[in-house]
Amino acid sequence: MGQMRSQAVRLAGVTKRFPGVLANDDVDLEVGAGTVHALLGENGAGKTTLMNVLYGLYEPNDGAVYVDGEQRRFDSPREAIDAGVGMIHQHFMLVDPMTVAENVTLGYEPQGRFGVDRARAREEVVALADRYGFDIDPGARIEDISVGVQQRVEILKALYRGADVLVLDEPTAVLTPQEVEELFDVFEELTAQGKTILFITHKLGEAMGAAEEITVLRDGRNVGTVPAGDTSREELAELMVGREVLLEIERDPVETGDVVLGVDSLRVRDGRGTERVSDASFAVREGEILGIAGVDGNGQSELIEAITGLRAPESGSVAIDGADVTRASRRAHTDRGMAYVPEDRQERGLVMDLDLVRNAVLGSQHDPAFAANGRIDWAAARAHAAAVIDAYDVRPPDPGARAASLSGGNQQKFVVGRELERDPRVVIASHPTRGVDVGSTEFIHERLLALRREGRAVVLVSSKLDEVRGLSDRLAVMYEGEFVDVIDPGETTEEQLGLLMAGERPDETAERATVSADGGEDTGTETERTGTDDIDGE
């Protein structure tokens, strides 16, 4: 690569201040045309802000943006789009009840003689999809397609608007390993056709695997741009955090105790009446982490909703410490000691418009620690918020900050902190480290393991395979609403796990390691197995 590459994007001295926060501090960044560039950094380092400046959502306080060598000032996304910059946000910007074609053409509808030329819109979308090898039904509604496909729609949307530079904010956070592979194939196809890609990630391996160059931000500053082929995870982690990070999870054996969470023959339907969980049974004991792995949309969400009391199951039962809570209120669940880290922090974890003090007592507003005579003790609430902020390294460390003003990862850390510090009997954690940087991920893992040591029960749902494999004592694989198998993660390779997640029955997998109980941890394996008929036939 000796020849001169033209710069698709150049940021020079970009500075962006929010009240009290210097989000970007004199950042220089250059991205060569036709390359993939990864942006790394801790939560709150300023990655999203920097990309929003490039996309015209924020106006920088200082500095300049060059696209294709020309200096640009974008006052709105529209202008960025017109200059060939497209952005795929962390939270997808799609209109759920509309179709794929309608979303792709939104704001750029081809006009016919009688309003929008819908036939042409469809044709154009299909042609575009074909060109990049996407398999997409232009007439499908967004609410009916998977997250991975929704992401394709977002990419198509940017391409349809003539984007030459694609900016993706944590595109892999919501994807399964399989989908991540596919996304990177798409990257290759795009750069082969001359497009430039800039993406944000927290996964070092992804940055090294998919990008040509990696830029690391820390505290709003660019602390280094390195060629991906010429660096190591350790170096990147240290650049990001400024210290060495433990990348391995160390899990000591722990004595398990009584059953804390008992789930028996649970059947759950979703809002449309489709059965999403068919006959799930399992038990989680004190000192045990039960992992649940599976491709998104195989009933994990509904299962968790039923366990936490957010959705009434069709049949079956849920018990905490032997007490039935199947149809009990959310409050009853909380009172019995269930902590819940929801999958979507903005939807269910936080009230975005409230400050962290108020958010800190969500769910414990009846707790005597915070409430006296029907009034909330705000001093206690503030102290609690400050404690969570401190322990989980939420930045900026200001209990008075509005939840919406925090970066995605910091919002996540706050929710996790609030829930894990509830002194729970059982923790239900859905994607607890989604969008969280390596350093904080390490800390959350440690906290979960500490809870396990203290004899709490944990249910962990995650699409990060290394996470579920590393933390779980037993790992249940869900496919189309059923537990295909419950395995010992230590004895299963990532490949075997992948096959199970794709729905392959354990008896079809030649070499597999079905759990059974290792050592003294014979923990209700009987019950889990009743969930699936095939497993018994081995």
Partner: protein
């Protein structure tokens, strides 16, 4: 019992009762049921149902645009009141029966009515979109302003909360078509009925077939998606709310100028039509055609109710008969169940917020 089967039971019960009633009417023409059937099949009932549906349907169309764009306009009632009053008031000021610039003053009054309603909706839009006001409270304020203002000005100018009479818009008759039995009534109608018959399909087309309609949809469902697609949410919301002003203005002006008078007693001559309009578009699931159908249903019940009151010999209290449309509203709402309202309706949207 789950909701679906409960709804089915209700539907069967309601439909059954209606069928029995109609059957009774056929067999015993002299009874209440017979009179009911007679009223139902009268041409004049159809034409008055159409006329009564005009303000409801126009307000409903307006409400659809506003709410789909993300602004719940509960002040439709106020927009109807203000336009009903201004239509007559402006005509009076100009001189009832005269002409201005070659246009009959009634029609100039009509135009002023639409303008007044649009201005009031602009006030509502500014308060909601610029000043983050709570949409429900702002909507109620719009209603209360109109409810206070219209009779007040009437009292000052006319000396009574009711206006004096002006000439009405009259009827437009389409030759030949109006000779068809029963349905011919449609072609011997107030001009506003024709406007409505144009406005309904036109609104449907705008919402479902134009880029603007898409933007309205997106603005109410996921405004950030629209914003990041480079379309101004603010602009689309203004347009939606202003359209509710224009359409309600046509409805209100048609109401008073069709009669040639503004009646300001009690809840004024609008008398809840703006609120029924909200029910109508919810019932019609934000589809202009469905909303029109619902408006026609409510207006039809109103027409039947008015006529039932005139049938001599029954001792059913008027006030009981008058509840008929509202009882139906409740039954209908129970039957439809929950309508899916636009995801972001009622929420303030700030561009650039993370």
């Amino acid at each position: 019992m789950n909701r679906a089967s409960l709804q089915r039971a209700l539907a069967i019960g309601f439909g059954g009762a209606l069928a029995v009633f109609v059957l009774l009417g056929l067999v015993f023409p002299g009874t209440l049921a017979g009179d009911f059937l007679d009223i139902l099949t009268r041409e004049s009932t159809l034409s008055s149902a159409l006329r009564l549906s005009v303000p409801i349907a126009f307000a409903a169309l307006g409400g659809i645009f506003a709410e789909k764009a993300g602004v719940i306009n509960i002040g439709l009632e106020g927009l109807l009141i203000i336009s009903a009053f201004v239509g007559v008031f402006a005509t009076s000021l100009l001189g009832a029966g005269g002409e201005t610039l070659g246009v009959s003053n009634v029609w100039v009054g009509f135009a002023f009515a639409v303008l007044a309603s649009t201005l009031l909706s602009l006030l509502f839009a500014v308060v909601c979109i610029e000043f983050r006001a709570d949409q429900i409270i702002a909507g109620l304020a719009i209603w209360l302003i109109a409810l206070g203002l219209a009779p007040f000005v009437a009292r000052v100018y006319y000396g009574s909360v009711n206006s004096g009479s002006v000439s009405s818009l009259g009827t437009w008759e389409i030759p030949l078509l109006s000779a068809i039995p029963y349905v011919g009534a449609v072609f011997r109608s107030d001009p506003s009925v024709y406007f409505l018959l144009v406005a309904v399909p036109l609104s449907w087309w705008v919402l479902n077939r134009t880029a603007f309609g898409r933007h309205v949809d997106a603005s109410g469902e996921n405004p950030r998606a629209l914003d990041t697609a480079g379309v101004s949410v603010r602009k689309v919301r203004y347009q939606g709310v202003l359209l509710s002003g224009v359409l309600s203005g046509i409805g209100g002006a048609s109401l008073s100028l069709g009669l040639g008078q503004f009646i300001g007693t009690g809840q004024t001559m609008v008398n809840g039509k703006g609120f029924i309009a909200i029910v109508a578009y919810l019932f019609g699931n934000y589809n202009p055609i469905g909303a029109f159908g619902a408006s026609l249903l409510f207006a039809g019940l109103e027409a039947i109710q008015l006529r039932l009151q005139q049938v001599p010999g029954y001792t059913i209290p008027d006030s009981l008969i008058q509840t008929l449309p509202f009882v139906t509203v409740i039954v209908v709402l129970a039957l439809v169940g929950r309508t899916r309202i636009p995801q972001a309706a009622g929420e303030y949207y700030e561009s650039g917020e993370d």
